[in-house]
Amino acid sequence: MTLINRPPVAATAPILAQGTQTPPPRRGFLRENPSIPWFLGLLTIFTLIVSVLSEGLGIGALSTSMVKILGMTLCLCLIAIAMDVVWGYCGILSLGHFAFFGLGGYAIGMWLMYARTEIVIRESLTGAVLPPTEAELSEAVAAQIFGVVGSSELPLIWSFAHSLPAQLALVVLVPGLLALVFGWLAFRSRVTGVYLSILTQAMTLALALYLFQNDTGLRGNNGLSGLQNIPGLFDIPQAVLAVWFLWASALALGLGYLLFAWIVSGKFGSVIRAIRDNEARVRFLGYNVEGYKLFVFTLTAIISAIAGALYYPQAGIINPAELAPIASIYLAVWVAIGGRGRLYGAVIGAATVSLLSSWLTGGGAPNIEIGAFRLMWADWWLVFLGLGFVAVTLFFPKGIGGLFDKIVRKAP
């Protein structure tokens, strides 16, 4: 397979050549990554401003739905930097990372639904003449959750749904294991390049089809809903919860950024970039290429799942359509527009495109009159996005982040 765009290999070559010998003296982590303090600072300021403007804790200039949208956007930024690491740094164009995002959402959603319903059921039975047995309780919960899809049995996959720690562990474990097994099989067979992209796309398609089935036990096309009502926190208004989730999302994004910046800046980062640029050469140098790829694939899958677990309680509903292959392609589009190979690029891409999309299709933008023709943004936005994306690929392969680099480099 021909190489994807070749940044100067020279930068990585000296480090590689030293192999396992002592690394060169390293400059400070932060000095090597000047974007980190900038990014974390801006993220903090952003979070503070939103909190102050919010309805829940501040002066009420920002509506709760807007706070939720911003919180969800932060989660999308988190999965975008994960995508950037796996694609922009390691060269694996995964078209399946939204599957992990969705699985994280499903794992936390199961607990949210179960625990909320259980509280409701317990409350309704407090006045009962005979206190309910555990079996009756779980049956009643199942009837509430699955009554809408014409069944009342609690499927086996819901075995741990009553326990928050267990489901939190599943948020990490299920996507992590899936990525590990899938990645092991794929990398072991040396499936690379576009083949791997198609394979990851097939994986998310299979998962979406699987979840669409009612027999799966995750309520089929209806998915899990009412996730914004957090069990035990019924009395706290959504306006406040929205801000809390915004904080959590900002914290996750900040930590995720730090983690990924640390990973891609050290020797490990050099190796994975080298794999991106010339996999065969790295293999001949004695590196376990498959191991590196597998690690990156699995780690980004887990971070994606965590982003999903934070996203869906804000969205309120998750259903299999969220895992459709197209979502993952959009993710790649965000990263490409933002600029691959730079973490802040992914954040810029995800935030810009997703906010712009929701603003333009939500009827927020004024329509433009061109003579007799009226341009409806809701109708034409996708056309412009598609063509704009082609233009970015053709003319600005480094995306918005690339422009940013030029400005920063010119400045000193």
Partner: protein, 650 residues
């Protein structure tokens, strides 16, 4: 309704006044059954028909025909029935049922149309059989035969047998004889006749023959202390083996032969009924969240005789041991059921063969659809290593081209003949344009081609939505493609699918000839194997790439017309095929027409095979198929037919 209520006394008066002479005018007979004729229902129509037949007024058959055809109306004021024919606009000419002359002209809103439903019309059709079996019009005779096929009964045997000798049309005569066999098998009075007729149906896979045999073999479940000798037992059911113990016991309960088992709420309900002062069965109610405490309390209540005792496993075993469970034939004569069973066993062997053939045909048809959708992609992906995510949109473009042509040319055959090359031209042009404008610049960056073409894909999809709307558009097949080709009642395939298969075959041959026998093909193969070397031999890779891409896209356009004919034309139709097409190409092996054929064949047969195992969930079949493909690629990354040599190194 209120009109009927007011007129009811009038009806009764008519009924009483109607003389019983044979020549009562038809209108009077109708008025005697006015309510049931105006508002017919399957439950009452039998009596009405019987009354009409008994009165035997002249024109009864004509009335039945018109009633069946929904051309009878009721005049709301007088309650009289007329035949109505539309004259112009909303005007109806009312024709007197007795004289046959036009009685009046009225607006369609001034009368009540009578609309017997399909069930009623079936009954009327059966009643008409006696008049129609020897009707001069062959179509009416055939309609009568169809009516017999739908609601056969014993009386028809004589009528049918009587009409056979005078039947002039050979085809209809054969049909009549066959129906007579079917009727004889079920209703003949002589056992020997029936057995002979049943034997004649042996090995006949037609639906009606199997239906007749299965109706003879209809069973009902039975329970008795010991197997009854006077019943024609189909099979004995042993609880625990042929039916579950629970089901068997439930049958006993349903027959009031055993007390009901406790369902999940009966303990709770029993306890609830006897709660007093916070105590039940001697235990405090707050302990009742413990199932064992509930049981203890319930036992205490049983001891007091307040609630019925629980049915234990031992009780169930004991009850079951006391009875024999069986299915008995409704037909008492064992010789008949034996003959029918022998016949149907004979049929089953052939049936399985035909079913297998039918599934294979379906799979073949699905494979040819996948092939058609994927072959264009195989060319662009295989030859140029270009991932074209907009391939599905070229399929859509072709389908919409077909739709637009159809809106302009009303003749479906002509429009199809024009649409096929036009779809090719449109998609070819779009493909060449895309290659020139976008893909040419990205040959060294295949992953980015994927993303850029995806951008084009969403733009095209949305543009189609803006132009044609989100509603699915019809692409109607001409009449000669609308039917089905059937070998028998089991094996049949719609003509359009056969046409798609033929189209796929044509493309396969044409591509092979083009690649192997023409100068262009030689150049394409050269560029595939080694672009640099090909260029140095004087081949212009740019031109070859452009033409190949156009060719692949053009084929997608033609595939779009074909797919639109059997399914629906929507802006999202391309997206539905794109992932599957990629999988077809990758599974088959890239860069090889035979590979795509193998991939399409594998996926088509696999999908049908999985569906056959689990016919109730098509979605599951698709899921397993995708999973299989993922695993397949892991173990055979280069596909079924792998290229060898330098080109395979990629």
């Amino acid at each position: 309704m209120s009109i009927f209520a007011r007129l009811l006394p009038l009806c009764l008066a008519f009924a009483l006044a109607a003389p019983l002479a044979a020549q009562t005018p038809l209108q009077d007979v109708l008025q005697a059954n006015r309510a049931d004729i105006a508002n017919p229902s399957r439950g009452t129509v039998g009596q009405v028909i019987a009354a009409l037949m008994a009165a035997d007024a002249p024109g009864t058959d004509e009335f039945l025909r018109q009633w069946q055809d929904r051309t009878v109306i009721e005049e709301p004021q007088t309650g009289l029935f007329y035949y109505a024919t539309e004259v112009e606009g909303r005007q109806l000419a009312l024709i007197d049922v007795d004289s046959g002359f036009e009685a009046a002209r009225v607006g369609s809103r001034d009368v009540t149309a009578i609309r017997p439903n399909a069930g009623v019309r079936r009954e009327i059709g059966a009643a008409l059989v006696r008049f129609e079996l020897s009707a001069p019009d062959p179509a009416r005779r055939l309609a009568a035969l169809e009516a017999i096929g739908r609601s056969p009964d014993a009386e028809q045997i004589a009528l049918l047998a009587a009409s056979i000798p005078d039947e002039p049309d050979t085809d209809i005569r054969i049909r009549k004889e066959r129906l007579l066999d079917l009727l004889n098998a079920r209703f003949a009075t002589e056992t020997a006749t029936r057995i002979a007729a049943i034997a004649g149906l042996s090995g006949d896979v037609s639906t009606e023959a199997r239906r007749a045999l299965n109706q003879i073999l209809a069973t009902e479940p039975g329970i008795a202390p010991s197997l009854p000798q006077d019943r024609n037992i189909a099979r004995v059911l042993i609880p625990g083996q042929d039916l579950s113990r629970e089901d068997a016991y439930d049958r006993l309960v349903a027959a009031s032969l055993a007390p009901a088992r406790a369902d999940r709420n009966s303990i709770r309900d029993g306890l609830l009924a006897h709660v007093a002062d916070g105590m039940v069965g001697g235990l405090p109610t707050h302990r009742m969240s413990d199932p064992s405490a509930r049981l203890a309390a319930y036992d205490a209540l049983v001891a007091q005789g307040l609630v019925p005792p629980l049915v234990s496993e031992a009780d169930i075993d004991q009850s079951l041991a006391g009875y024999a469970f069986f299915d008995a034939y409704l037909e008492p004569d064992a010789t008949l059921t034996d003959a029918a069973r022998a016949a149907i066993e004979q049929t089953d062997t052939r049936l399985r063969l035909f079913q297998w053939l039918a599934i294979s045909l379906d799979a073949l048809s699905l494979a040819s659809i996948f092939f058609l959708a994927a072959i264009g992609l195989a060319i662009t992906f295989g030859v140029m290593r270009v991932i074209n995510m907009a391939h599905g949109e070229f399929i859509m473009m072709g389908a919409y081209t077909g739709y637009v042509v159809q809106t302009m040319i009303p003749d479906y055959t002509v429009s199809l003949i024009i649409a096929l090359p036009l779809a090719f031209a449109v998609a070819f042009a779009a493909g060449v344009a895309m290659e020139r404008l976008v893909i040419r610049h990205l040959y060294t960056r295949p992953l980015e081609t994927l993303l850029a073409t995806f951008g084009i894909s969403i733009a095209l999809q949305q543009m189609a939505k803006n132009i044609f709307g989100t509603q699915a558009r019809p692409l109607t097949a001409p009449d000669w493609l609308a039917g089905a080709i059937s070998l028998n009642d089991v094996v049949s395939i719609s003509t359009i699918r056969v046409a798609i298969f033929v189209l796929a075959l044509i493309f396969l041959v044409a591509l092979l000839v083009m690649l192997k026998r023409t100068r262009l093909g030689l150049e394409v193969r050269a560029v595939t194997q080694n672009p640099g070397m090909a260029a140095s031999m004087g081949i212009n890779p740019d031109r070859i790439n452009m033409l190949t891409f156009g060719l692949g896209s053009g084929i997608a356009g033609v595939a779009g017309v074909a797919i639109g004919l059997y399914a629906q034309v929507t802006s999202e139709m391309g997206a539905n095929y794109i992932v599957q097409s990629f999988m077809t190409v990758v599974v088959g092996g890239v860069g090889n027409v035979w590979g795509t054929l193998a991939g399409a064949g594998l996926i088509g047969f696999l999908q049908k095979g999985i569906e056959w195992f689990n016919p109730s969930n098509t979605l599951a079949a698709q899921t397993y198929m995708v999973l299989f493909i993922i695993l397949f690629i892991q173990f055979r990354p280069r596909g079924i037919i792998a290229l060898k040599g330098r080109a395979a190194g990629e």
